[in-house]
């Protein structure tokens, strides 16, 4: 059995919520606290845990060279939210496009996080400022975007007519769509405008 003072100092420092001065340790442990600290420092040297003094106060900490062990990188595959995928689609079809334009097209405000997620995913990048009052930032897609979605170029994105043929336009809106087309004599042209 090791000297009681060393064991007691070890236990007190281990259980302490803060680093402790020698006097603070003495309020728990009788005996030669300084000698015990010196003994412990030697005993723990080179272990995964070490005893260190900072500004006269002592505490245990994990060895600095093991910092990488204490963090684990976990890759999580996550699906884009509905807002995220809609925003991405608008950027892809209309780039370069400002945040205000995205909001105008979606009809709802775009949360700050939505564009961040798209940029974090590596699919969207800032694409310079538009030379209009306020000089808003525009956004465009990246080469990684094309890769992820298996597109050789943005021209591979189906146009409105293709979407209609695929039944991807909401039927209710479709009826309305037909009306406005007849009235204006204009074909779905927006997808080519970017």
């Amino acid at each position: 059995m090791r000297p009681d003072t060393v064991r007691a100092v070890e236990a007190v420092l281990f259980a302490a919520t803060d680093a402790m001065s020698v006097d603070a340790i003495r309020s728990y442990v009788e005996g030669d606290v300084r000698a015990a600290l010196a003994t412990l420092a030697v005993e723990y040297a080179g272990r995964g845990v070490e005893l260190v003094e900072r500004g006269g106060r002592w505490h245990f900490q994990t060895a600095p060279d093991l910092a990488h062990v204490l963090r684990r990188d976990r890759e999580e595959v996550r699906r884009l939210s509905r807002a995220g995928i809609e925003t991405l689609a608008i950027i892809a079809y209309h780039e370069p496009v400002t945040r205000a334009e995205i909001e105008a097209i979606r009809g709802v405000q775009t949360a700050k996080g939505t564009l961040d997620v798209l940029m974090e995913a590596g699919w969207v990048r800032p694409a310079g400022r538009r030379e209009v009052p306020g000089r808003p930032l525009t956004f465009a897609t990246t080469p990684e975007f094309l890769t992820h979605f298996g597109l050789s170029s943005r021209r591979d994105l189906p146009g409105i007519e293709d979407l209609r043929a695929a039944g991807l336009l909401d039927p209710v809106d479709l009826a309305f769509e037909q009306l406005s087309l007849e009235a204006e004599g204009v074909e779905g042209s927006e997808e080519d405008s970017a």
Partner: protein, 248 residues
């Protein structure tokens, strides 16, 4: 609240609040009788319990109903044990006595176990965990995923939702100059004879787009002529315009 289990039975306090029910009282009486519950005399125990309850009633203590029920049951057990065994009577009183004893043993065992549990080195009282563990970190890196169908469907959804707004801000469909130059230069390259400029226009249903294409193609023809790549011929103002590849 601790039961004075070491007291002789006659001196048990007549304070029924101190007992957690008749079984508790019985166990205390039994423990006072003998250390090993397996060797107690059930008959003696029953006698002690009945005497205890009688004394409580004499001094007008309010006895909870379950003490009286237990007393009645024990009185029945006592008489059954004393009377000659009647094989017709079920259940066998000896077995009832054995079961009562087992019940007392069980409660006693759990009481003992509880005491031993509480006496262990308990965390936060006897042993302590690290006071300021920084915790382990998990750095989550999200890999986002979405399919091409999700993307297209999302655009369809957005479009269907907002087309009227879109028409206000969108330009009409046009053929750009670049597109016209590309088209005209490609088509004229294979033509040796003069061909009307209309022949270079794409087949289009839309009048507006056809008009845009004609204008763009005309400009394209001028540009290509300037570069010396096509020749242009027109008989008179507003007459048909003919193009062919430059002979140079």
């Amino acid at each position: 609240m601790a039961a004075p289990v070491t007291d002789p039975p006659e001196q048990l306090t007549l304070d029924l609040d101190g007992w957690e029910g008749p079984l508790d009282l019985l166990l205390s009486l039994a423990r006072a009788q003998k250390v090993d519950l397996r060797d107690i005399s059930i008959l003696a125990l029953v006698e002690q319990y009945l005497r205890y309850v009688d004394r409580a009633r004499v001094i007008h203590l309010d006895l909870a109903a379950d003490y009286l029920v237990m007393a009645a049951w024990l009185a029945y057990l006592k008489s059954a044990l004393l009377l000659p065994r009647d094989p017709e009577v079920e259940p066998d009183p000896e077995e009832l006595a054995m079961r009562l004893q087992l019940r007392l043993e069980r409660l006693d065992a759990m009481r003992e176990a509880g005491a031993r549990l509480m006496a262990r080195d308990r965390e936060g009282r006897d042993v302590f965990r690290r006071g300021a563990a920084p915790g382990l970190r998990t750095v989550r890196t999200a890999t986002w995923t979405a399919g091409i169908f999700d993307l297209i469907a999302a655009y369809g959804r957005v479009s269907a939702r907002s087309r009227p707004v879109m028409h206000v801000v969108q330009d009409r469909e046009v053929m750009t100059l670049d597109a016209a130059i590309a088209r005209v230069s490609a088509l004229v390259g294979s033509a040796i004879d003069w061909r009307a400029i209309e022949a270079f226009l794409p087949e289009m249903a839309s009048v507006a787009l056809r008009r845009s294409a004609l204008a763009s193609s005309f400009l394209a023809a001028l540009e290509l002529a300037r570069q010396g790549r096509v020749e242009i011929r027109q008989e008179a103002p507003f007459a048909p315009l003919y193009l062919r590849a430059s002979s140079a």
